[in-house]
Amino acid sequence: MPKCTINGKEIEVKNGTTIIEAMYENKQSIAHYCYHPGLSVAGVCRLCMVEIEGNPRVQIACNTTIAEGMKINNTSAKVKDAVKWGLDFHLINHPLDCPICDQAGECGLQDQYMEFGKYDPEMAEKKQKKHKVVDLGPTVVLDSERCILCSRCVRFTDEVSKTHELGLFNRGDRTEIGTVEGIQLNNKYSLNVVDICPVGALTSKDFRFRQRVWYLKDSETICTGCSTGCSVKVYFNKEGMFRVKPVYNEQVNGHWMCDEGRGIYKFTNKEARLLKAKKGQGGTWTELAPGAAAKEVAPLLKKAGDSLALVLTAQYTVEEYETILSTFVNTFKTKKIFFWINNKESFDSFDGLLLRGDKNPNTKGLLKTLQKYNVTTSWAELKSGLDSGAIKTLVVAGPENQAVFPDLHERIAEFSKAQNLIWMQAGSNEKLESLTGNVTLIPLKTFVEKNGTFINHQGLEQKIKRVTTIVSEALTLDQAAHLISGEEIPVFVPPTTETLVETNRRPDEVMLEHRKKNEFVFRRGTL
């Protein structure tokens, strides 16, 4: 455990810690581009310069391991000058097209320049021209001129996804990122390169030009794409959800997430949602408020007695399962509760990094709650019950993410054999709306609109918090359970301690003081 002094502060670090890691841990600000905690050290941006006492030359912090008694500082004039010039070298061939660059607003180059920049550019020569709008693959677009050649993306494909698609071509200031001819950047984790790109060189085709980032708010939640349960950030504004990015979580996903998980925002948006409850009888549909629809079915369910059954998908929170199971077991006195497994064949598969075959966020949570209520049923019982007519009234908590249910249409046809079908789910579905029996469709809220707990494949309980409201009338499964049993929705009084929420600040975010210092002050009349 060597001891060292960083900027006058004495600290003790683990053996083998590099200076930049120690500075991160101690919340010291240091400029850097190529260093990424999840990748190997490249040491090419030459920005994380520090001065070590006794060494005449400034050293890079990312490749220097701390030794006993080292005295390190990165606030001396020498270091500041080196960083200023380092940034200027980065910028001399950068096109500075921030207005049309998608990264503007969350760009490493902008952030670092505000804090460490030189502010008097001396470059008067022509800039180096490179390729613009290079199609790297199905998900990513490259702009070589904006690239600062930190090689993070190359290292990502070499070390994390191990697909080796990207490489550096040419030499000197003609160097460009690219793929070998005939090969595309096409892997299950390709969009991570967009996240780790500190500038706007790599942009996601899905998000490109859709919003300026300063119009977006973000909030942390859990990815519901599969049972891994990666920590993610969703970005949204009043127009809806726009993208999903990973958040560092040592226990679950590290720094990364898969491309598939980045699509989960799509089913939360209004276009894909069921906005009103619908009641169908013989093919004619009437729209009504979700709450009213849920209340309306209450007497029906009460009457149903033994012919009532419930089908659950593993896409809801533990709290919701708790309520709906207690409603069915305690109020309706039935244990005909069935677990709908979507893709049986690939349920236990795992690709070795993050992606799991179980495409539900809360399989463990559902199984746990079922066990608690001592429900032991098999899918065959439901089938035979529906065929023989023993099950007349069927309540279904359908999938939130319908894309991962390949057997959805098949099941809809199967369940529609029941006399009364009460189907609750978030998304709209044409097949459901073309049913001709007695069907009630109740819209539910998605994972971004409710609080709760998911239990991932390793048994880790992860809390999610409400992010925003997209369909305000929709019910949570919890509320729906109360209403269909004839109760009122309990009014939620937030505990006073939770009103102050910790802000989610990026560790390398530029603080307001620095921003203020450099902000262009406009005084009317002086120009």
Partner: protein
């Protein structure tokens, strides 16, 4: 607000003042009748006042030499707009040198407060405020100006060219 009443003796003889006022009115009436050129008012709407080119009136989107919009859909105007009246939808252009362009650009002119911040924010001289100021319309939807109106309305005669030229800028290596 308080009202101060002047109850002095002199104030009671208001008739003289009224007569004085009527004399001035009569003088202007006669002057306008016999010397129409010096009249201070205009016969709106038959006659219209011409403002200077620097007047901040209705918006104009400038065009390039080939007639396409200069706007790069950077949304700085929309960000800067205090009235939040600008709505832009960006899209990818087929030409890789253009890259980003507005597929729709709408200004809700009823919300606009004509502050000129959009003009100031624009990095490419794509939006300007012109001397045109009359904006009558018959219903609310007509007050949302789209690209067609902003850049190509008839009185702009095919669009206004900007003095900044992209190609020249690219050639000189900036």
């Amino acid at each position: 607000m308080s009202v101060v009443q002047n109850n002095s003796e002199k104030n009671k003889w208001y008739l003289i003042g009224i007569l004085g006022g009527m004399v001035i009115t009569m003088k202007h009436l006669l002057k306008n009748l016999f010397n129409k050129k010096k009249m201070d008012t205009l016969n709106y709407p038959e006659e219209k006042y011409e403002y200077s080119n620097r007047f901040k009136g209705n918006h104009v989107l400038t065009v390039k030499k080939d007639g396409s919009l200069r706007c790069t859909a950077c949304m700085l105007c929309a960000t800067n707009c205090p009235a939040e009246c600008i709505k832009i939808t960006a899209a990818e252009h087929n030409d890789p040198t253009v890259e980003k362009f507005p597929i729709s650009y709408e200004i809700d002119i009823l919300r606009c407060i004509f502050c000129g911040f959009c003009e100031e924010a624009c990095p490419v001289d794509a939006i300007r405020m012109g001397p045109e100021w009359q904006t009558p319309a018959v219903n609310g939807s007509k007050f949302i100006y789209d690209i067609n109106h902003l850049a190509y309305r008839p009185n702009l005669k095919g669009g206004i060219l900007s003095h900044v030229d992209d190609e020249e800028r690219h050639k000189s290596g900036i």
